[in-house]
């Protein structure tokens, strides 16, 4: 029982971060019809800012680490949002619904941002001091309180975004342009404005994921690559642009990661995931919950 509880806890921990990261990617795709390869760098930028600011705030402001962490999250979210706004205004805005153009553009942004992050933060792995090292036992499985809080925060954040998309006017507009942007424009929805808001929502989800995992793992400018590969697998399995599909696929991939890592090894798991994606693309190209156009 303890083993299954541990595997369950591992899945929830991994899946909640995948979910946040992938939701951002799928929202951007849904609204703008662009695949943002620079998504991982925005995630890494937020994590690096938190890793740099937490020790600095603790030392210079003399506040407890929880406060430093909270302040650092606010600063990182603002900074990454501004960065996202710049990327949109000077890049993505010009390539809305242009898959080829946005593909090349976002690859360029990926390389540019990675270079800038290495230049500013160096490539040396950074560690955020732990906020809590207490461990909790659940049915024999063990998890740190910090990880549990991170999972809870990720779930709350994801639920809020889903709520925003389902129950608010803004969310309705996002869904409308995602389904048929020309029809949405005929209804008076300003597509450019909604695309910008959708892009910022996606960027903020990546930044939030980065901020949340910064105290859990070592942080480097390259950390986004691993998550980006997983996120692409998730959005393809879930269905490009499908919010509920992304949530479901995040935990499916996390479960595969957990079971594959435990019963086989991480490399075999990754190969198995790509095989699954290929199979799915043949049998159900629109993904588990995507629409077939």
């Amino acid at each position: 029982m303890a083993l299954y509880a541990q595997l369950f806890l591992n899945t929830v921990q991994i899946g909640s971060v995948y979910m946040l990261f992938s939701l951002g990617l799928t929202i951007i795709f849904g609204v703008m019809r662009v695949v943002n390869f620079a998504h991982g760098e925005l995630f890494a930028a937020a994590a690096l800012l938190v890793a740099a600011l937490v020790p600095a705030a603790t030392a210079h402001l003399g506040v407890p680490i929880v406060i430093s962490y909270a302040l650092s999250i606010v600063a990182a979210m603002v900074a990454v949002s501004l960065l996202g706004a710049v990327l949109y205004q000077f890049g993505f805005r010009l390539y809305l619904r242009d898959m080829t153009g946005s593909f090349i553009l976002s690859l360029g942004f990926l390389l540019l941002l990675q270079g800038v992050l290495v230049e500013i933060f160096t490539g040396v792995p950074r560690v955020v001091p732990p906020i809590s090292e207490e461990t909790m036992v659940f049915l024999g499985g063990r998890v740190t309180v910090q990880r549990l809080v991170t999972c809870a925060a990720a779930l709350v954040l994801a639920t809020s975004v889903i709520g925003l998309i389902k129950y608010t006017n803004l969310g309705m507009a996002l869904r409308a342009v995602s389904e048929d942007y020309e029809a949405a424009m005929l209804q008076g929805i300003k597509y450019g404005r909604i695309a910008f808001v959708g892009f910022l929502v996606g960027v903020n989800l990546a930044a939030a994921a980065g901020c949340l995992i910064a105290p859990l793992f070592t942080v480097t400018p390259f950390m986004g690559a691993d998550y980006l590969v997983r996120a692409f697998i998730i959005v393809i399995i879930g269905g490009l642009g499908s919010i509920s599909g992304t949530v479901l696929a995040s935990f499916v991939v996390a479960l595969l990661d957990t079971l594959g890592g435990f019963y086989f090894d991480p490399t075999t798991t990754t190969i198995a995931m790509f095989a699954l994606v290929m199979l799915l693309l043949v049998l159900r190209p629109q993904g588990l919950m995507g629409r077939s156009d």
Partner: protein, 401 residues
Amino acid sequence: MKWQNSALAAVLLAVGLAAAPQIGIAAETLKLGLSLPLSGNGSTWGLGMKWAAEAAAKQINSGGGIKADGKIYTLEVLAYDNKYNTADGTKVAQTLFSRDNVDFVVGVMGTGPTQALQAIAERRDKLIFTTAWGRNVKGPEHPLTFTQAHTSSESMPELFGYIKKEHPNAKTVALINPNDATGKAVEADARAFWSKIGMNVVMSDFFERDTTAFQSVATKIVQAKPDIVDASSGPPDIAGQIFKELRTQGWKGIQVIAAGGSAATLTKTAGEAADGTYMGLVVDFASPAATETQRRLNGEAEKVLGEPLNPVHVSTWDATMALKAGIEKANSLDPKKVADALRTVVFESSYGPAAFGGAETYGIAEQILVPVTVAAVRNGKIVELARVKPKELEERLKVKQ
């Protein structure tokens, strides 16, 4: 017009005479290459190696450079990021040998990047110093490759033997390594050396170097119930994450990093979970047992790198000093002649007098001979538990005397 020509000739003669001695003693530049992980996992090693090579070059240059064949050479260090993988190591090899025309590489990290360098170096007769633990990078078929730090054959018998003596009840071990040429090579050696002292390897797993979540790996290890977990060639920041995760999941056993390298990085990543970890390839360079050079370098490294010096860092200092001795003994910059000289020369390393040997193990003298240490983390600090001088080095020093 005649007097004008004479004056011009006199001026040219004067300039020529004034410049001649300068030209005669002007030092030429000798470029030294480095192929290191300067970003990502392993950069804690790479950045320190770069710093130590530059410090050695600075000391040699300020001491008058390297003298060979009637010329004086000052050193210039060129370091490139191999990101600890073969693909980037290949790019670095092309840059060093095809663009920079480097003849001597005083530091490579990673078995894959070393093999990438060898692929070009061996066709063009370039000399390489490497820290790679892969056994297949050494041997008579690689006569221009020298190992600048201890590898598994030197480090593991001492380290594992010490642990077995301290923990006689330990019977089982789990191995965890990166899924690349270095990891595969070290895993095979670790498996062989643990088995040799009667330990049962109950599991062995590999991870990709860009992995960030180690929960599943930790769960697998916990279920295998090993007495010892050896994160063999895992970079200290990754080993730290694995040990931390193991502690979270309730495993409390003996932790080992055979190719330890940096206790400071391990402690920073693992926190309290680092405590008690046995490490090979770690030396307390601030202790009285260290040489004066090592204590000085350690002090400078702490200021520049923000962490104490470790044997991986200092290996480029030692390689640069060995190269100086080799070139001066050969009285030539021909890498083949320098390699021959390196097999017999006794040079002043950071550890004191050192040499290259290991012909009995590798079939050719290519392995640096410096003291082997066993260390452990105690309350966040590294403590040296044993220090053994290689017998072959002692014999070489006796012969020299």
